[in-house]
Amino acid sequence: MVVKNQCLDLEVFFKEREAVLKGWPTGQEVDLEEAVAYHKNLPQEKVMVNQLLSARRENKTLIQPRAGVALPEQHIELLKYLREEGEADLLPTTIDSYTRQNQYEEAEKGIKESRELGRSMLNGFPAVNYGVKVCRQIIEALEVPVEVRHGTPDARLLAEITLAGGFTDFEGGGISYNIPYAKKVPLENTIRYWQYVDRLVGYYGEQGVKINREPFGPLTGTLVPPSISHSVGIIEALLAAEQGVKFISLGYGQNGNLIQDIAAILSLKDLAEEYLKKEGYQDVEVTTVFHQWMGGFPQDESKAFAVISWGATAAALSKATKVIVKTPHEAMGIPTKEANAAGLKTTRQIINMLQDQILEQTRRMDIEREIIGKETRQILDKVLELGEGDWAEGTVRAFAAGILDIPFAPSKFNAGKILPARDNNGAVRFINFGNLPFSQEIKEFHQEKLAERGEVEERDVGFQMVIDDIYAISKGMLVGRPR
């Protein structure tokens, strides 16, 4: 199968749609025309795009948790609590892992078990099984916008049901919800699936309904160098824009070095706008998402609060449009609603205290921005070259060639040849470049930075550093120093 970056023909789209809706009985509940009308009747403050754009305008950082349980009543109760007690600005509905794999039968079992035990046996909310009506109960019970957050390679049916259900933001993308979330799903397939999702969002847009799309920024969440996640995010933005998507939030997972993290958020927006313009998508609005540390967390809750605070700090100082919040239970398991609210409140306090503070651009920050810019452009330009002008084809070929490569990812379509590690100040650099198309200048920059750490630690730059870095934050450090 070959996938081209072309706006899907409406006829093709509607034909495909029939099959998609047959994936599970609830598909039949979806009536596009009626759904458009439903959206148009939503109060303005329940529309994600409105909240994001006004936050961007006012230089504010909004806060959003992750949350999803198996039973609708409990899910609604949870979200209400996170709004009221946790002071969340935006809400999520995190989808369970069976639904993410389109295993709706398994999800049904999970619902049953959960009903019997009275507690959630699923790690998220199985929206497809519940269908449009129950989704709308969620939307109607809450006064703020709700986003679908998941990790689904083929999210066509999920998108149909949740968007008809009144959700106004949909996370994911053909790369970001494949390579970190799947083992053997071909990229051309997921890019195609997500063209469908984006086309659906584009279609809603053409009917006057504003829906936001958010590629999943953090990927594997673990030592992902900014240029890697930026490249993926920008490609997904371009693919979405081609399908008519007008509102895109691009995400980035905190690495922990403040300067690098701020530079990453600033450059992400600049680069995305640069490429969108260059490719002829003039009217796409880009907002940014900062994810608090996505790798392994400390088990101790007091220490987890510190990691959460540090994430909130970087989010506030980078003026990201929103921050996705972790909880003190992160290392242990899906949080209770109290723990979830605790993470939100810590974040809220930091965001508020830093709201009016400004960190100046410094020389180091300029250097980081420049490096991230150069790396991202070198990757993206090579992708386009490989695709002979087509971003979709280019992406498939670039992954095959290791030009795009995500560290620690489970997918067999990922080369897995690059190796990241922290430098002596905790910024994430490359130990191995794999086949990344970086210039000599860039490579030397990374090598020097890592050599500096090697000298301080009196050891070779190598895999043991990577392992130490993977554990570092959970063990109370940023840089994984030898013991």
Binding site: S97, Y98, R100, Q101, Q103, E106, K109, G110, E113, R119, S120, M121, L122, N123, G151, P180, Y181, A182, K183, T220, T222, G295, G296, Q299, H329, A331, M332, G333, I334, P335, T336, A339, F408, A409, P410, F463, I467, I470, S474
Partner: protein, 147 residues
């Protein structure tokens, strides 16, 4: 020197958490084991087949994403049916949903037939030490472990 003991390693169910799996592979290798890593999203059947095909001494099952309780049930029985009923099976990760009392969780998995169960954040060293002891008890003390 005799042949290395063989461990089948994988992440069960629809679980894609790959980092711990990669580190465990590395650590087991370093400790002198032969690792057969079937990776993430592995079904019970894949674990059993890999164990039979390679004549494995142990199976290490990871479950991180919270569905461990549903996914892990029945693996011991599948092994018994396949004629490798007494193979060592360890399980570790974030086995259940949420922050729960570990002693209960441990009991749950031991009752399912797992030989050992490890709480979140277990370091590879800990379990490798146990594995060596368990293998030794089973009369496999002749292996020369790298020191």
């Amino acid at each position: 020197m005799t042949a290395k003991p063989i461990v089948v390693l994988g992440v069960i169910g629809a679980d894609v958490h790959a980092i711990g799996n990669q580190i465990l592979e590395h650590a087991l290798n370093d400790a002198g084991f032969k690792v057969v890593n079937i990776g993430v999203m592995a079904s019970q059947k894949e674990f059993v087949n890999a164990a039979i095909e390679t004549g494995a001494d142990a199976i290490w099952v990871s479950s991180l994403y919270g569905h461990g309780e549903m996914d892990c049930r029945g693996l011991r029985e599948k092994c018994q049916e396949a004629g490798i009923g007494d193979i060592l099976i360890y399980v570790g990760g974030n086995l259940v949903i949420g922050k729960q009392d570990w002693e209960n969780t441990k009991k749950l998995f031991l009752n399912m037939g797992y030989d050992r169960a490890y709480p979140p954040g277990t370091l590879p060293e800990t379990a490798i030490k146990d594995l060596k002891e368990d293998l030794q008890k089973r009369g496999k003390s002749r292996w020369n472990w790298p020191s």
